[in-house]
């Protein structure tokens, strides 16, 4: 950390250089400049802000991150070493936030589905969508991402088209001499009656610290079905801040699975607006914490229209000195009648030093609604352990089995076999410290 004292982060200089190096259409250039001004005003959040009360990002703020210039290089071998799931469909690989065409492949996509880099798509219709959902007001990290807008992934699905195979977006942060700041942006636009599955994998390696600051914007038009998976497997010295914003049309169906497996500080924010009648939204999350990790999940579901359902289930398994924060907000607007919202957050503490802070919130302005939330924090059931031990399982096996069982219902919701099997194996191999 001593280097942080000697070299203060210089974002203004980098922004000026970035603006010159990465030209954008006028409207987006304005967006970028406004975003940087907002970031300058806000600075990195402190624990004095209610939304960041339990997540101290001082560690992130003091590192002089550098937005890498030039085209990144990464060998296919080092990509394999990250053990990212193979989904067998279209893949876009981003290294340090920039598209690596050599590693990517978009063959086999059906007609009406386009998966391209943002830099390529930016002159098209997409330009009007970028930054429209993920507003920068009050959001320092989103502002920082928007200020360095330039590359990312664009997924467009035409009306009525069903994309059978999942679309895999891999965001890899490759170590450099200086701490790397990688800021990908994903824009998904699913047309009416379309269906699409998108998987974001975030990973990194190397010795230096890095920050992966991602923003994802999802439009689901009427009757669209969008499944979104985010698997965060950053390195031990990697920070990750992810913002997912989705706008749902009438009778559309959106589900998000936020899976956090690694990273020093990981913050996942999800904000879903149910903007049409009959919409349905599922937000699920699974986080495993060890060492001194901090995992923070923030969700907001905005029931803006009547007759919408939402389901939310977040589960955490915490070991070592790890900490978890969960803040789930459900807003039911005036006249959003017949809303049915369920939220649940469960945490399992495996060690003496693990900590959990959970804050479910309901804000309800309509009367004909069903809203429930529940939160539990506990440890492995002694009786269950005893039962398994009496059936000749070792202490270790018994604990593994119970931990796996704790997460089992969440795994059941994951429709992609490749991801589910990988998690399954991971949960069973993870050796909890006995006692």
């Amino acid at each position: 950390m001593s280097q942080a004292v000697t070299a203060a982060p210089d974002y203004a200089g980098q922004f000026a250089a970035w603006s010159r190096a990465v030209p954008l259409p006028a409207s987006l250039a304005d967006l970028r400049r406004d975003a940087f001004n907002t970031f300058e005003q806000l600075g990195f959040p402190t624990t004095r802000l209610e939304e960041w009360r339990f997540t101290n990002v001082a560690l992130i703020a003091e590192v002089p991150f550098v937005v890498p210039e030039g085209d990144p290089s990464l060998s296919r071998e080092s990509l394999e070493e990250l053990h990212l799931p193979r989904l067998g469909g279209a893949e876009l690989v981003f290294v340090n936030g920039r598209l690596a065409p050599g590693l990517s492949s978009t063959t086999g996509l059906p007609d009406g589905v386009r998966v391209v880099g943002l830099a390529e798509a930016i002159t098209g219709e997409v330009a009007g969508r970028v930054g429209q959902l993920a507003s920068v007001g009050g959001q320092a990290f989103t502002a920082l991402n928007t200020a360095f807008l330039g590359d990312g992934a664009v997924v467009e699905v035409d009306d009525g088209v069903v994309a059978e195979t999942p679309i895999h977006l891999l965001f890899v942060t490759s170590p450099g001499a200086a701490p790397v700041l990688s800021q990908p942006r994903v824009v998904v636009s699913a047309g009416a009656n379309s269906q699409v599955r998108i998987v974001e994998s975030h990973a990194g390696g190397g010795e230096t610290e890095y920050l992966s600051n991602a923003v994802t914007e999802v439009w689901a038009a009427d009757n669209a079905v969008v499944d979104h998976y985010s698997v965060v497997r950053e390195a031990d010295n990697g920070f990750h801040v992810g913002q997912l914003v989705a706008q749902l049309g009438r009778a559309s169906n959106f589900s998000s699975h936020a899976i956090t497996l690694g990273g020093a500080i990981v913050r996942n924010e999800a904000r879903v607006v149910l903007g049409g009648e009959g919409g349905e939204c599922t937000l699920n999350g699974l986080y495993l914490g060890t060492g001194r990790q901090l995992v923070d999940n923030q969700t907001t579901i905005d029931h803006a229209m009547p007759h919408c359902d939402s389901h939310e289930l977040y589960k955490g398994i915490l070991d070592g000195r790890s900490r978890a924060v969960f803040n789930g907000k459900i807003v039911v607007r005036l006249d959003a009648q017949k809303t049915d919202a369920k939220q649940s957050n469960k945490a399992l503490l495996l060690s003496e030093d693990a900590q959990v802070t959970t804050k479910p919130q309901l804000e309800i302005f309509a009367d004909d609604v069903k809203c429930t939330h529940g939160a539990t924090v506990g440890q492995l059931d002694e009786d269950a352990l005893f039962y398994l031990r009496s059936r000749a399982l070792s202490e270790e096996q018994a604990r593994q089995l119970l931990i796996h069982a704790f997460a089992a219902d969440l795994l059941g919701h994951i429709k992609l076999d490749a991801i589910r099997e990988q998690l399954d194996a991971l949960l069973l191999e993870r050796l909890p410290v006995a006692g």
Binding site: Q337, Q355, T357, T358, P360, L362, A375, Q379
Partner: protein, 480 residues
């Protein structure tokens, strides 16, 4: 449906039954707040030097504080220099028996249905009646004195038992605790003090009726309740206030100390004037209530909040001793433009500490009801257990119900559970009752009472009846 709504509206429009002003001569300090005012209050009350110092310290801290903004209630800012900080009925002479009490004040209590004589003769409840800021009469003192129980007004306690007051005052709610507690510490006028000696079980419910009178005098009550080792006490606090057009400020502090093995049950029925249907007038109620429970002690807070334009209170338990128990049972009702931000804090520090939170919020009209609670399990709180349940009932489509529970767990051997639900009274429920010959109004009453049953059964008998009546006045039938 529409008839139900009509009934609701009719009931919601009912005038505040307890709104009347008693005409008694009052001694009032001019408006404003500065060190001189505090010195004057202290001088009027003939307080010892240490207490004056304590007040002044609180004032200095308060002057540097800013009014909190985090709460989910909105109101016109209070001008703290436009309030008179002391008013007392003019003392005519020392009061020795009830007959000497001002007949007008007696009549006021009669209207409220708590005539001192009645209370004394029939219910066996000792009433320390607080009329505005000074206690005018205390009953059953002798009976209690025989057991060594001290139950008197705060001023008397300062005069007669300074060592007890000095030992415990501010130990649970320090003078710098929060904006409103600091204000109270600086200017508190009077309140109640009770001390239950070791091993004594208080034979009767201790009770205080608070009443805001005289326009423009905020009321700053201070209650200190100490239950010594193994002692047991049940304390009732009830509030009604006369109808006013100007907002009145009420910033009270209640401190409970439950020493080893002691049990304190503190029950409140709060029915300050809530303002009219447009939200004009009404009491601002900013209260800090907290209890510390030592080894094996138990503190129970039960509250029924139906009044006030703004309710801001979080009766809390610091579970400091091993095996201590904290409980919180609450019914909060907001109607018309009332706003409530209320809940509890359970801070588990000792081993095997247990806490239970049952909160029922009912919103009607344009009312906004917020539950805000904290459950903190400290590092050393091995085997701590918490169960929280907060349910909201919505009546009408323009009201709001909000829940902000904070759970902070720093110990793995603890178990914390939180549940919350929000619903409205189902048409099928009303239909079912109507089918069996109940009027819509009765049906709603029945359902609301059922919704609150878990809390009401924790109330002492005397209060349970009053609570149900209050609920009927505030709400009855307001389900559409």
């Amino acid at each position: 449906m529409s008839t139900a709504t009509q009934t609701v509206e009719e009931l919601a429009k009912q005038d505040y039954k307890y709104g009347f002003v008693t005409d008694v001569e009052q001694e009032t300090i001019p408006k404003g707040l500065n060190e001189d005012v505090i010195r004057k209050i202290s001088a009027i009350k003939e307080e010892p030097e240490w207490l004056l110092e304590w007040r002044l310290n609180a004032f200095r801290v308060w002057s540097k504080m800013t009014e909190p903004e985090w709460h989910n209630v909105h109101y016109d800012k209070v001008d703290y220099q436009d309030i008179s900080y002391y008013s007392a009925p003019k003392k005519k002479k020392e009061l020795k028996s009830l007959d000497e009490v001002d007949p007008e004040i007696r009549a006021t209590f009669d209207k409220l249905g708590i005539s001192l004589d009645e209370q004394k003769r029939l219910s066996g409840v000792a009433v320390d009646a607080v009329f505005d800021s000074v206690s005018v009469a205390t009953t059953f003192k002798d009976t209690l004195a025989n057991l060594g129980i001290i139950f008197c007004s705060f001023s008397e306690a300062v005069r007669d038992h300074p060592e007890l007051v000095q030992k415990y005052l501010g130990t649970v709610v320090p003078h710098s605790d929060n904006f409103f507690a600091a204000l109270n510490s600086a200017v508190f006028s009077d309140g109640s003090f009770a001390y239950i000696p070791k091993g004594v079980k208080c034979p009767m419910e201790l009770s205080t009726y608070f009443r805001i009178n005289a326009a423009n005098t905020g009321q700053f009550e201070r209650t200190l309740l100490v239950a010594d080792e193994g002692a047991e006490v049940s304390y009732l606090e009830g509030c009604t206030a006369p109808q006013r057009d100007e907002n009145q400020l009420h910033a009270a502090v209640v401190e409970l100390v439950a020493l080893e093995g002691a049990t304190i049950k503190y029950s409140t029925v709060q029915n300050w004037y809530p303002g009219d249907a447009e939200g004009k007038g009404g009491i601002y109620n900013f209260v800090t209530k907290r209890g510390t429970a030592f080894d094996n002690a138990k503190i129970t807070w039960t509250q029924v909040e139906t009044g006030s334009a703004i309710t801001w209170k979080y009766p809390s338990c610091i579970l400091q001793g091993d095996n201590s128990v904290g409980e919180f049972y609450s019914v909060a009702v907001t109607n018309n433009r009332q706003q409530a931000d209320t809940g509890t804090k359970m801070v588990h520090l000792g081993k095997n500490t247990k806490s239970t939170i049952i909160s029922k919020g009912i919103s009607a009209g344009l009312g906004q009801n917020t539950y805000r609670g904290l459950v903190r399990i400290g590092k050393g709180a091995k085997g701590a257990r918490n169960f929280s349940q907060c349910d909201s009932l919505l009546i009408g489509d323009r009201c709001g119900a909000h829940t902000f529970p904070y759970l902070e767990v720093k110990n793995t051997s603890s178990q914390v559970e939180h549940e919350a639900s929000t619903s409205k009274i189902g048409e099928d429920q009303i239909f079912y009752c109507r089918q069996r010959g109940l009027s819509t109004e009765d049906a709603v009453n029945l359902i609301v009472n059922g919704f609150c049953k878990e809390v009401f059964r924790e109330l002492p008998m005397e209060f349970a009846v009053e609570a149900q009546k209050l609920l009927s006045i505030s709400l009855e039938g307001s389900v559409g």
